[in-house]
């Protein structure tokens, strides 16, 4: 597959007399293949929006390489801008213009036919409210308008920053369907979101960023598999046998966490081996279940942003990795 978006070693440093030097992007890498829906995840302040803004020419990088549709940026940005639709952060529009005016002005600036405005208004469900001023719109409606503005160009690459923000449950489902349909039509979609359940449902692949560096990347299943850590839940016929089972398994080099009525094992390659070990000690298993990890737990683990009782995590407190990152499959 060909790469629609490539970023290598991207760096952006902010210098301030008061706050000193801060590396918003610290050698960040990313690669998105054609026709995919790609999730771009990271805690607040990790560099997601800086990456997107840099990619779109709004911020000057201090180093690194970027390319969209095989063309080097920022030199070729004016040439590829017509093929990239984007919304960055919260949708912002002139409040006294209607949605139709807003899109019509953008379409005129982009030399697009007027009918395209009606097409995207229909697509995002704003057809009947298109004549109203944007200032009367709810956050969800503004979000729909933002997506409409990004789709106006019928782009090859669609970059959406938090597109589901403010949408109602029906709207989120519609957005999910829209993303899939766009990808099926050949459009590549980069989706930045904190709704990790959605990302897991929609995306083919993900990149996770923390403190300006990539901490994981690849197809969603591979990222999940790479971080499942072979976790297995074990229940015994007799709860009273749990301490003896814990001792047996620990002796065999398995990491064990005792719960009230079961044991959680990690680092287990073959669950059958657990069953055999326990049976040899006359301990009989009533349940032996591999525990599937979800994207949220992988995200929290990789970025070290899981809440800790009694602690208030600060925005910049997340995991920093070495330059190699944690590969989940393919990548730059």
């Amino acid at each position: 597959m060909s790469a629609v978006l490539e970023i290598e070693g991207l760096r952006k440093t902010y210098r301030s007399r008061k706050r000193g030097v801060r590396h918003a992007l610290d050698g960040f890498d990313m690669r998105v293949e054609a026709g995919q829906v790609h999730g771009f995840l990271g805690p607040n302040g990790s560099g997601k929006t800086t990456t997107l803004r840099t990619l779109l020419g709004l911020i000057r990088p201090n180093g690194g390489r970027m390319a969209i549709l095989g063309q080097e940026l920022p030199r070729a940005l004016p040439a590829v801008a017509g093929q990239v639709g984007a919304i960055v952060e919260s949708p912002q529009f002139f409040p006294h213009f209607s949605a139709r005016d807003t899109l019509s002005l953008l379409a005129q600036a982009g030399e697009l036919p007027k009918r395209r405005v009606d097409e995207v208004l229909e697509l995002v469900g704003l057809r009947d409210r298109a004549g109203e001023r944007v200032k009367t719109y709810s956050l969800g409606m503004k979000q729909r308008l933002a997506v409409a503005s990004a789709l106006l160009k019928d782009p090859k690459l669609l970059i959406l920053d938090e597109p589901a923000n403010g949408l109602d449950p029906g709207g989120i489902r519609e957005m999910r369907r829209l993303m899939r349909e766009l990808a099926e039509s050949g459009m590549t979609v980069v989706l930045s979101s904190h709704i990790l359940g959605e990302i897991q449902l929609i995306c083919d692949s993900v990149t996770i960023i923390s403190l300006g560096r990539r901490v994981a990347f690849g197809p969603v299943e591979q990222v999940l598999a790479a971080h499942s850590q072979g976790t297995v839940r074990v229940r015994l016929e007799a709860v009273a046998d749990l301490p003896r089972a814990e001792e047996t398994l620990t002796r065999s080099g398995i990491r064990v966490a005792a719960e009230a009525d079961h044991l959680m094992l990690s680092g287990v390659d073959k669950p059958a081996a657990v069953s055999r070990l326990l049976a040899e000690q006359d301990l009989y298993v009533s349940e032996l279940t591999p525990v599937a990890v979800d994207l949220e737990s992988v995200f929290l683990e990789l970025t070290a942003t899981a809440p800790v009782p009694g602690q208030n995590r600060q925005v910049d407190q997340s995991a920093k990795v070495d330059q190699t990152g944690t590969a989940g499959g393919w990548g730059a």
Binding site: F94, L105, G110
Partner: protein, 337 residues
């Protein structure tokens, strides 16, 4: 070209543009209407009536003078002292003369297009310049503030071209408006002149002079619009331009005046911006230094310093170029965060 047309459309669609345009037109129309009522055509009947009033005032004055002289002579016959009350020789030497009762004093005000229209060009320029300032500042300031500029840059990632096109759209609109409203303004005052005033002595030379006044007015309007645009672009907010204007006014018109007064700088007003605006409109501004006079020795011709409109052109030119260069430079260099 499509971006230029889009920006023209965006500017004319904006509520602040439309609202201020209505206020501008209503304001100018009010000034013209109110002024037209204060002017009266000097018809032969009006002139004759004024002449008759003057003649009557003269006759009445002569009668009063005669009565006063008669009273004085009667008092002298009674042996009374009259000089204090009636003056020397009973005031016989002060007989009222006809030329002391000029009929012009009894005429109502009549608007003289030739003499007075240049002042109204300055009034027009002030009103349109205020419009250009607010619209120019908000056109780019509100775009930054509401994210419109960022959206536009996602579509047209050529920052200097985008800013330049927006500026061109603003100046084109302001120029078009100045020309159209200026033509209407001239026509209205010409009409007032013909119907309720006078348009006498309007030679080709006078028209050329009025035309040049108009050109200078339009140039000043464009300079004000461009500077407001540049300041709002620098601060990425409309309020930046308004704040800078207030600061400039305070420094130039108040601060510098106080400073040159305290330091007794000769011709201190040459450092004040409004002197250059005055000189731009009036072709020159004359400053006098009365400290060079010793009035105890009698009448004095104080030292004079002349600020020409060409000097004003240099001052305003440097100002607008500096503001625009700074705005474009920061547009190219600064991140859009």
């Amino acid at each position: 070209m499509s971006l230029f047309v889009t920006e023209l459309r965006r500017l004319t669609k904006r509520r602040v543009t439309r609202l201020l345009l209505v206020l501008l037109v209503v304001g100018l129309a009010t000034v013209a209407t109110a002024f037209s009522f204060s002017s009266h055509k000097l018809s032969p009947e009006v002139v004759a009536a004024a002449q008759a009033d003057s003649d009557a005032q003269y006759r009445k004055s002569v009668e009063e003078w005669k009565r006063s002289v008669t009273e004085c002579e009667a008092a002298q016959a009674r042996g009374e002292q009259t000089e204090e009350r009636y003056g020397e020789n009973c005031g016989k030497d002060y007989q009222p003369q006809p030329e002391m009762f000029d009929p012009k004093w009894n005429l109502p005000y009549q608007f003289d297009f030739r003499a007075e229209f240049p002042t109204f060009i300055a009034v027009f320029a002030g009103a349109v310049a205020l419009f250009a300032f607010i619209v120019g500042a908000s056109f780019v300031g509100a775009e930054w503030n509401t994210g419109g500029m960022m959206n536009l840059l996602l579509w047209r990632p050529k920052r200097l071209a985008v800013l330049g096109t927006k500026l061109a759209a603003l100046l084109t609109t302001v120029l078009g408006l100045s020309v159209v409203l200026g033509a209407l303004w001239t026509a209205v005052f010409w009409l007032i002149g013909t119907q309720r005033g006078t348009t006498a002595k309007m030679t080709a030379g006078v028209w050329r002079s009025i035309g040049l006044d108009g050109l200078r007015a339009v140039a000043l309007i464009l300079v004000v619009g461009a500077v407001a645009f540049a300041l709002a672009s620098l601060g990425r907010h409309t309020a930046m331009a308004l704040g800078a204007a207030v600061a400039l006014f305070a420094v130039s018109e108040v601060g510098i005046r106080i400073a040159v007064g305290v330091l007794s700088v000769p011709f201190g007003d040459r450092y004040v911006l409004s002197t250059y605006a005055q000189s731009w409109f009036m072709k020159q501004a004359e400053l006098f230094d009365y400290d060079t006079c010793e009035f105890a020795r009698g009448a004095c011709e104080p030292a004079k310093y002349v600020v020409t409109w060409q000097q004003s052109a240099v001052v305003f030119g440097i100002g607008v170029v500096a503001a625009l260069v700074a705005a474009f430079w920061t547009m190219r260099r600064r991140d859009v965060a």
